[in-house]
């Protein structure tokens, strides 16, 4: 028996998704709470799952490399683990200053 084998997560958990700028416009809403599969491991996994939900998400994430993400208001990368993040944001590269 391999004691180190990770136990796969099951079920879903509620996550608040927030969108900004043209990501918000393409998704068609500023925020939503979705029950996401608990076995989604990374930001990229979540993006893949969202794109399967509809054309609006496909439009928002047409160029995945451009869209940025934040987990609980901290910048994240596509391979960042979602962990227990409750608020996940997607937005274009920033243009403040």
């Amino acid at each position: 028996m391999n004691a180190a084998a990770p136990i796969p997560a099951t079920g879903t958990r509620p996550v608040r998704l927030v969108y900004f700028a043209w990501v918000r416009e393409r998704v068609g809403m500023a925020d939503e709470t979705l029950d996401v599969p608990a076995d989604l491991a990374t930001v990229a996994d979540l993006v893949r799952w969202l794109k399967a939900r509809g054309e609006n998400y496909q439009a928002a994430f047409a160029n995945e490399a451009v869209v940025r993400a934040a987990l609980d208001q901290v910048h994240a990368k596509p391979d960042s683990p979602l962990g227990n993040a409750r608020e996940i944001a997607f937005f274009p590269p920033m243009t403040g200053g």
């Binding site: 934040a70 208001q73 944001a89 920033m94 403040g96």
Partner: protein, 152 residues
């Protein structure tokens, strides 16, 4: 040294912020200020609309400020960023860095602006003088390069 971070719709006054920073102390030898203005090079812009991520904007600028405070011996650090509709000629952002000597103040202010542009969650969109809504301003690779140079 606790950095002062403000995200606000209202305009700000450079002199008021310097006065507040220096009030009641005489150990500051240098204050470097940077103000970013809304510019209209082509004469076609009615206003810039700045959208931001409330909560994260304050938090992220706070993280950048903490990095600046760790790198340079600062006495004071201020970052104010506006959101909403801002017309050409109006102020968008203020950074103040105060130190005993000028070098730390210059470098910290420069660092703050480079990272503020690439990490603070703000997005600009153009409202044109002819009444139409313009596109979202695109991020510049130059800005990423400018931020990256602090890692070299």
């Amino acid at each position: 040294m606790t950095p002062l971070i403000r995200i606000q719709r209202e305009d700000f006054s450079l002199q008021d912020e310097i006065d507040a920073l220096a009030a009641g102390r005489a150990d500051i030898g240098a204050v470097v200020s940077f103000i970013g203005l809304c510019r209209d090079e082509a004469g076609t812009l009615a206003a810039l609309e700045l959208e931001h991520y409330p909560g994260m904007a304050e938090a992220e600028i706070g993280r950048v400020a903490a990095e600046a405070a760790a790198r340079w011996p600062l006495i004071g650090l201020v970052a104010i960023h506006r959101y909403g509709l801002i017309r050409p000629g109006e102020q968008i952002v203020l950074v103040l860095a105060a130190s005993v000597h000028r070098r730390a103040a210059f470098e910290a202010a420069d660092f703050m602006m480079d990272y503020l542009k690439t990490r603070a969650p703000f997005w600009k969109r153009e409202h044109r003088a002819d009444g139409t809504l313009g596109g979202w301003v695109e991020a510049k690779a130059d800005d990423d390069d400018a931020a990256e140079r602090w890692n070299r």
